[in-house]
């Protein structure tokens, strides 16, 4: 699924580890275990779940991801354009075209915060959420300078759908 872009928050990042000793994942022990394992992490980084892994993580890919962003203003016709599939086609930093009408599966507006469900490709990744949010909100960004510009969007990856 690749590396998380620098500057993007996540609430659902996954990593697989192989350890030489087993972990005690009993329900009564799990909260303490996660707290203890999160202790060496910098502020803001925290383990939220651990479960045994039967197969390699790379054998399963998510089908969609939900991203969150709170823009300064939401265009009045946003849902209308989503429903009528009249979002523009934008380009990412590699120059590839992204048809937002195909990639954005749903939009939810919760008191000014947008939750976008975005389709994953066959490798379990989505188009850059920065490009997608910029596209649907009508914000122009230079894809060539995507790293510098995009990190200013406080985008969070909320969940993954499998």
């Amino acid at each position: 699924m690749g590396a998380l872009p620098l500057g993007m928050e996540t609430y659902c990042e996954l990593i697989s580890v192989e350890l030489l000793k087993p972990l005690d994942l009993a329900p009564e022990n799990l909260p303490n275990l996660m707290k203890e394992l999160s202790r060496p992490f910098p502020r803001g980084m925290e383990i939220v779940n651990i479960e045994p892994l039967k197969e390699k993580l790379s054998k399963h890919f998510p089908k969609a991801m939900v991203y969150r962003y709170t823009p300064e203003a939401i265009p009045a016709d946003l849902m209308e354009r989503f429903n009528s599939k009249t979002f523009p086609t934008v380009t990412n930093h590699r120059g590839q075209e992204i048809d937002l009408n195909q990639h954005v599966l749903s939009i939810e507006n919760r008191e000014g915060t947008l939750y976008l469900k975005v389709k994953c490709n066959d490798q379990g990744t989505t188009a850059s959420p920065f490009v997608i949010f910029a596209g649907i909100l009508g914000i122009s960004i230079d894809p060539a300078k995507l790293d510098e510009v995009s990190r200013r969007f406080l985008v969070a990856k909320m969940t993954m759908e499998w």
Binding site: L6, L19, P40, P42
Partner: protein
């Protein structure tokens, strides 16, 4: 409409004065004749004391909108634009966070160099620990930002901030710095002005923090004396606490800044430059009007402090865990402080006397606790000469015996040639896999080694090389110098002969051995026997380096590296300079000369322009000092007396003088340290962690037998979140945190098999 920005010094009083804080429409403020409407930011919290107000769209005399932004939020705006955001995100694990309002005194410890260097520094870890264990004192750290972050901080109106709570450094009662090298001097005004603290001591107001420095450069703090309110001279573990309490009590009692400084000057080991008058000596140097005189116990000077023993309680265990790769990624234990070998060029040998060793049982307890608390994979046993640590072999046996260290790389830096016996060489090779050994013969010429009291012979070097190569080492690094007084071409030929002979020894065991020779240039330092010596001119110095280089040009077994004469020249000016350097340093900083310890940034032609502009004459570095000359640093009594150093200088040129022995073994040289040897604290072999002595073959078998079977492993899927400023943690650093956390938990990640195992 136009945009502008205002900073309100005490925003909370004004916030609380407003009636509509947090409500729609905000509160009204009047600033600079404008009526402004303030809207509270959704992320604003009442406990965020550090904030300023950014004004958008101010109408002339009309109406405006203010958005409150905390430093934290502004940092989030700055980080996307900088090269290495993990340097500045703060929030390190193991950070100590206390209620600022409950503290008697708070110190911001500002390291005047980059995060990677500062976080590797052991001194900062020790002081962070000894201050924060006091319930009413607080220490938070900060580092010098690289140019790109400094530009963003200026653009977004962010003052230099502490990394644990994002508090402006200027809000602390004390700002402390450690000056590890003179090459950090231009960063002193740089970080002070980024903190919005006047760079010059004379310009500071009552509410400005007390700015204090310590560290190895205190052997001559005079070049930066005008930037600091005070200095701490010597070991800081105890005096730091007295210093902070003095400032805290003074502030609590409502004393003026001048009164607090006067009280500070009465603390043993504290130097307040504004209270010690200076005069010009006959050579035009600014020197103390009252040089230190008499014995250490009764001197009128500022005493360099030394703690009587290495107290295990002063050793930090829960070190801050860095957010990125550092210069040294390891957990360090200082096994010994002080070295009394008596090398005449060595400042540390004088400055850190007497020799004090930590009990090896304590070394092992601290090491294990520290490795578990930080998840580091490397253990550094630090000292000026670790092989001289009395129980070094027994300590090595104990480390080998304990399976806990099987996953830990143990480093023994600074090994003296004549301490590197066959047994130790074999054990280290077996333990570490035997790659390289580092020796410091200083020079290849026995004549020069005798002159500087480096009491090793060519034969000692050959024996050490024989031990190393026969034990399986394939590389030797040699630290050497040129530029000694009276040095000539015969000495350089002897230098080359030594290297040729080492190559011959190495090739008996392995034709591909490497000898890496690093050539520095002697910088005569304060508090050494060579403090009277001239610095070698460029033509002669480069001639001597060229002599060696040409002999080993394209040699398959020898690599020569050498120091830049220009950088050494600058260090030579700093190391024995006086207070007249402060305006030069400030001008250099204004010209953009900062981070000089980074060789890629060093620009000698810019320095020449600065010297020309400030009218500073640098020619004095080539002058041999007069016998009775008063030096700028002579207000310090280092323990060792100036008379002793002068005798050492004279003995250096006496071919009949006897070598000066290492006094830690009982032969007191009466250098001035009181007690005549009673202050020396040597450690005995471990008792609680006693382990059998093993042969290299036995060690290899033991380590192989204990190697865990990697056939059985347990796989887990871990879900985690990365929010707040941790979203700027790069992917590879994030992965390393997972490796670290399982090391802390005593459950290592399975490694792939191979020559260089990686998780």
């Amino acid at each position: 409409m136009r945009d502008t920005r205002v900073v309100i010094p005490d925003p909370f009083d004004k916030l609380r004065a407003g009636s509509g804080r947090g409500s729609a429409g905000g509160v009204m403020l009047e600033i600079n004749g404008w009526t402004l409407e303030m809207q509270t930011d959704p992320h604003f919290r009442e406990d965020d004391e550090a904030c300023s107000f950014v004004v958008h769209g101010v109408t002339g005399g009309g109406f405006a909108k203010l958005i409150v932004m905390t430093i934290l939020e502004k940092i989030a705006l700055a980080l996307p634009a900088v090269e290495s955001p993990a340097r500045y995100m703060g929030g390190e694990a193991n950070s100590v966070v206390k209620d600022h309002s409950e503290m008697l005194c708070r110190m911001a410890f500002v390291f005047p160099d980059t995060y990677e260097i500062g976080m590797s520094n052991n001194g900062i870890r020790i002081l962070y620990h000894v201050i924060n264990r006091e319930s009413d004192l607080l220490c938070e750290v900060s580092f010098a930002p690289w140019d790109d972050m400094a530009a963003e901080m200026k653009r977004l109106d962010i003052p230099l901030y502490s990394y644990a709570t994002y508090t402006p450094v200027r809000d602390f009662e004390v700002v402390g710095m450690t000056l590890q090298t003179e090459l950090n001097f231009t960063n002193v005004p740089y970080v002070l002005e980024l903190a919005r603290i006047p760079a010059w001591q004379k310009d500071r107001q009552e509410n400005d923090p007390i700015v204090v420095a310590g560290g190895p450069s205190m052997a001559n703090p005079e070049p930066v004396a005008d930037f600091f309110d005070a200095f701490m001279i010597g070991d800081g573990e105890k005096v730091m606490i007295d210093f902070l309490r003095c400032v805290g009590e003074g502030r609590k009692a409502g004393l003026s800044r001048a009164e607090i400084l006067k009280n500070l000057s009465k603390i043993d080991g504290v130097y307040v430059p504004s209270l010690r008058p200076v005069v010009k000596n006959e050579f035009g140097a600014i020197v103390p009007a009252e040089p230190a005189a008499g014995a250490y116990a009764t001197t009128n000077g500022v005493r360099r402090l030394f703690i009587p023993k290495m107290d295990p309680k002063d050793y930090p265990v829960k070190n801050l865990i860095a957010n990125m790769q550092l210069v040294h990624n390891r957990f360090s234990v200082e096994v010994m402080r002080g070295c009394a070998q008596g090398c005449r060029f060595c400042q540390a040998g004088i400055w850190y006397r007497p020799c004090r060793e930590l009990d090896p049982d304590d070394v092992l307890d601290i090491a294990k606790a520290g490795l578990l608390a930080t998840g580091e994979r490397e253990l550094g046993l630090l000292s000026l000469s670790t092989a001289d640590y009395k129980p070094v072999e027994a300590l090595t046996d104990s480390i080998i015996d304990d399976p806990f260290y099987d996953h830990v790389d143990v480093s023994l830096p600074s090994i003296r040639v004549n301490s590197f016996g066959q047994t130790l060489a074999g054990k280290i090779a077996a333990l570490k896999g035997g790659r390289s050994a580092t020796f410091a013969p200083e020079t290849g010429s026995e004549r020069i080694r005798k002159m500087i009291n480096k009491t090793i012979s060519d034969q000692d070097m050959y024996d050490a090389a024989e031990h190393a190569f026969s034990s399986g080492f394939n590389k030797i690094k040699l630290y050497t110098m040129i530029g000694f007084p009276t040095e000539n071409e015969e000495d350089m030929q002897a230098f080359c002969d030594l290297i040729f002979n080492l190559v011959k020894i190495g090739r008996k065991y392995n034709r591909g051995i490497q000898i890496a020779v690093s050539i520095g240039i002697l910088i005569p330092k304060s508090f050494t026997a060579l403090q009277w010596a001239p610095f070698m001119d460029k033509e002669t110095a480069l001639g001597h380096i060229r002599f060696v280089r040409e002999k080993f040009f394209k040699h398959p077994n020898v690599k020569i590296n050498w120091a830049a004469w220009e950088t050494s020249f600058l260090e030579a000016i700093y190391s024995r300079g006086d207070r007249s350097l402060a305006p030069v340093i400030y001008e250099a900083y204004k010209q953009g000369i900062i981070f000089e310890s980074d060789s890629y940034r060093f620009n000698f032609s810019k320095w020449e322009q600065v010297w020309q502009k400030t009218g500073y004459d640098t020619s004095w570095v080539y002058r041999e000092r007069d016998k009775n000359e008063v030096f700028p640093w002579d207000f310090i009594h280092a323990g060792t007396t100036k008379q002793y150093l002068r005798r050492e200088w004279e003995k250096a040129f006496d071919p009949n003088s006897a070598p000066v022995p290492n006094c830690k073994w009982g032969d007191c040289q009466k250098c001035g340290i009181p007690g005549f040897g009673d202050e020396i604290r040597l450690a005995d072999n471990p008792v609680r962690h006693k382990a059998p002595s093993r042969t290299p073959e036995e060690i290899k078998k033991l380590v192989a037998d204990r190697r865990p079977s990697q056939k059985v492993s347990y796989s887990y899927k871990i879900t985690f979140k990365k929010t707040g400023l941790s979203r700027f943690l790069p992917h590879h650093n994030m992965l390393s945190f997972f490796e670290r956390t399982f090391l802390c938990a005593g459950n290592p990640v399975k490694f792939s098999e191979g020559f260089s195992p990686k998780p």
